[in-house]
């Protein structure tokens, strides 16, 4: 059964993986507040079970990253909201990443180089007159 390995991850294993991953993801210099406790069954947001095992680990790591940096700013209710937000984002990312893209499918936003003529609109030189810049050239 292919689904077995992914689906059978138990909550203890999930919490262990999340704690490990969060330790890896947060650079030492940033981890000044220390990780929060891994999620208990009750703390897992509604809908968390819809995420893949990897997705749950990533969502929890995302939460731990925030807590490591900013944890002291939140009371328990706010921590719950942050965790909910991390799991909700993860759900979106799983659906987004599942969309088939070819390597050549480019992003919608392109660089628009700032051309010199855009910055300084120049009036057309009078007929017969040499451009000022040309006169300076050797």
């Amino acid at each position: 059964m292919n689904e077995s390995k992914e689906q059978k991850i138990n909550r203890r294993e999930f919490a262990r993986k999340a704690a490990l991953l969060s330790a890896v993801m947060v650079p030492a210099g940033l981890a000044f507040e220390g990780p929060a406790a891994a999620a208990t069954d009750e703390q897992l947001p509604e809908g968390a079970e819809k995420l893949s095992a990897e997705g749950r680990v990533e969502a929890e790591a995302r939460f731990q990253q925030i807590m490591s940096q900013y944890g002291s700013r939140f009371d328990s209710e706010e921590q719950k909201r942050v965790r909910d937000g991390c799991y909700s984002l993860e759900g979106s990312l799983e659906r987004l990443r599942a969309f088939h893209l070819e390597n050549g499918d480019a992003p919608a936003v392109y660089l628009k180089p700032l051309l010199e003529r855009e910055k300084k609109p120049q009036s057309a030189p009078a007929a017969g007159a040499a451009p000022a810049a040309a006169a300076k050239k050797p």
Binding site: V82, G85, L89, S92, L96, F99, L101, P107, A108
Partner: protein, 469 residues
Amino acid sequence: MLKESILYESVGELAKRIETKQLSPVELTEAYLERSQQLGPQLNAYARLMPVEALDQARAAEKDIHRGHYRGPLHGIPYAAKDLLAVKGVQTTWGAKPFAEQVFDYNATVIEHLKNVGAVLLGKAAMIELAGGLGYMYASASLQGETKNPWDTSCWTCGSSSGSGAIVAAGLAGFAIGTETWGSIVCPSAFCGVSGFRPTYGRVSRHGAMALSYSLDKIGPMARSAEDCTRIFAAIAGHDPLDRSTLAVDKAAFTFSPAADLKRHGLHVGWLSNAWKDYEPGVGKAIQAAHKILPRHFASVRDVALPEGPWEEAAGVILQAEVASSFGELVRSGRVKELHDPQGRVGGYVNLTVSGGDYTTAQRVREILQKKMDALFESYDVLATATLPAPATPLTMNLATGLAFPDPLGAIGNLCGLPALSVPCGFTEKNLPVGLQFVGRAGDDAAVLEAGQSFQRATQWHRKHPRLS
């Protein structure tokens, strides 16, 4: 003292009176100011009224007109601007406590355009803090408190252009300017029973406007009719060297021309079958009635489905990543704690964790969607459906649960920068307005505006006004 009915006239009607000198811009401004001073605080509609500046502008307009220098249909017409548009020397709070004392020393381009055509700025309209970019759960997520719906003051106006919707619906100004990143013009227009237009991305300069999401933000008019929106759009559209996201000169400019409108009659409408899962009963009835009358006024009306895909997810990830940049410093510094809404105080932290890879994936999905939508518009001039499946919600409702329904059209329209117009199309049994939305091809703002005008030539819903005292 002007009659209340005059204060509810369209820009077109007011302009006729002003041009023929039957109505003084000063008298009109005084009347709107008086009404705004009386009703504005009851509705929490304004962030700030500007009576001194407004009367100065009105006097200047009157003087010009008497000298024979009439500048067009917005000359002498009082309006309100959402409080995220910079007005020189006046507080621009972005609806948020951390920016309550912010003052710019220049005008947003939109304000400059309206000044140039002689419109009179009455004041700054209330809004959801930071246009809701960090998330919010309650209608009270604003420096001004919850904006109350003029049709039922126990209900909300929707956001984030909350004050703009209330001001137009309550007859406190001739029109208002709103902005939309995802729903912030069309939603308050539907809840408030006004006509609101979201232009194609890049047609209206955002210079001087608070940046929330660089690739999603748009500025547009909210007014008493689609025709008014057309006139106002013509005044504010155009390329701006100060905003490099604006389209080229020939693609950005828009000219109001009633004669050109006549050429466009016979639009092909795609009636969306999968934009909303369910309608609340009162909304469904009004939308079905609107659907029935469309074939009489349009060349064809055929059912069509939106393409399926992770469009809301892509829009959400792009929004979160761009807000992580636009308001990252507010979050990292901890000042985000000063926001009013409990969700707004924490949402920004999650945004900071969106990776560059996921943002770019969302932008790649966006490009594919743009092509799909452009192909759809080979067969239809406009798509139509309800603006929202529900009417105005109670002021105290938890929006995270009460207004949490899938919105693929909002995601698609804003991801692809498509123009959209919401027009009133009826009322629920509780007398709350219902909105009908037209969405067009990128750049074909004219088709969307014409669709709204065609609908309003056949209906009178846009002429209904709330009873206020």
